[in-house]
Symmetry: C2
Subunit: 252 residues, 2 copies
Amino acid sequence: MDRSNVIDLDGVRRRCGQLTARQLCLPAGIDPLEREHVDAIVRRRRALPAGARLYHEGDPLAHVYVAHRGAFKTVALAENGDEAILAFHLPGELIGLDALGADAHRGSAVALEDAEVCELRFDELLTAAARLPRLQQQLLRVIGQGVERDHRHVGMLLRRQAHERVAAFLHDLGERHRRLGLETRELRLPMSREDIAGFLGLALETVSRSLTRLQEDGIVAVRGRRLEVLAPARLAALAAGAEAAAGARAGR
Amino acid sequence: MDRSNVIDLDGVRRRCGQLTARQLCLPAGIDPLEREHVDAIVRRRRALPAGARLYHEGDPLAHVYVAHRGAFKTVALAENGDEAILAFHLPGELIGLDALGADAHRGSAVALEDAEVCELRFDELLTAAARLPRLQQQLLRVIGQGVERDHRHVGMLLRRQAHERVAAFLHDLGERHRRLGLETRELRLPMSREDIAGFLGLALETVSRSLTRLQEDGIVAVRGRRLEVLAPARLAALAAGAEAAAGARAGR
DNA sequence: CGAGTCTTTGACTTTGGTCAATTTGTGTGG
DNA sequence: CCACACAAATTGACCAAAGTCAAAGACTCG
């Protein structure tokens, strides 16, 4: 750790610390003294233009990131050629834990729009975690939440009906917005239909049709990448795999 | 990777899986002082009859397990009612990390056949990890491998063609057999067709048909739950999403 | 050997993928 | 500010793939 000047570190803390703290510290009730250790790990903010890659497949695991502004997707290109989308990351969510198993990133992370991330040095995070049991616990919890995210993704992919997958996707997006303290009724979709399709294992036309149908059923209102949830309960029911007919019948 | 001196959770898994370990599933190649810590974590072995649950949804996270004999599946029942299969676990593989995010298991683990597991107390594992950087590192690596497993699962589910999913599943199973030092040519499928279907998001009839087709194409030979890989390269190609026609053409 | 489950196979139907054309939206330069 | 060009999204028509229902065959375990 090259002696970074105090001023700069302070700046980092002011600008980034709060967000990072929320993710890593607050839930664990880490006291201010300990928190300083964590703050020191947050290195800097990095700005990325839309389409830029935060890291590439094969890069060694050096940092983990917290999306600060703008959304990201993590992708892994199949031997096939076309890219599989493994996750979307909203502001406030962690990025980069796909490298845990091999010390090297298995995919890459792409900014979906102009974005900024906070960068955390992974090795320093580990040493701090060894010293602070609460941080260790919280780190594992955050990792576990990433695992849960993947499981929700699998849950979506196991839904056989396309519009159920789309509903599950929108529902999940809404839930995450709620947990992050963002707008929950009016959602902005930072990713293209093609990205959604790549995430859900559908053709992009099917995604479009599903959205249209959800709109016809009065469950959401879609205008481009802006989406309003009109009937959260019915959206949740569809996402959960309830009889598709139930919603449709009432809606038409 | 780094082999010497690393506290080898991989070793724990292998030894447990190979039936060579007695009471203690101990990693070799670590100094006696460290070794003692790890010793204490492995509690006992538990035997389970086919169909028994290792833990249930909602159970607090107390242990993680290593399958010792027999295979397991981890399932989460969708609000829907029917159960989603999140993973299969072969002898030697870790079970129970789905609870990291919430301290409670999000699904349950079921023995697919008469089985035994090694039980590790999770809290003790954490304290030991805080004291032993190598163990901490290794623990994270194992968790990361679980994440990679989930990503491979997603990769399968993103394949649109049913027989590609099935091929990817069999290929993955073969790879895992290889890594665990098990038979790679002649695979035993410890799970039912219904389970495979539940894992791949297909109807069980489709799984059956796909297997038949893979057999007709000369890629595998199937007799019930015993399966022989005849053309590993073509299986891998199919799994990777190569033109399905390539294999079929050559095979017929 | 028999009862049960598991698996395969067949016939039919529905869903969603593909190809293609149109409309909407976005950003740029005149 | 408008017009233009390009990309993104929608919509339609058609077809192949997979789901469903149903029945027969194979395997397992008592």
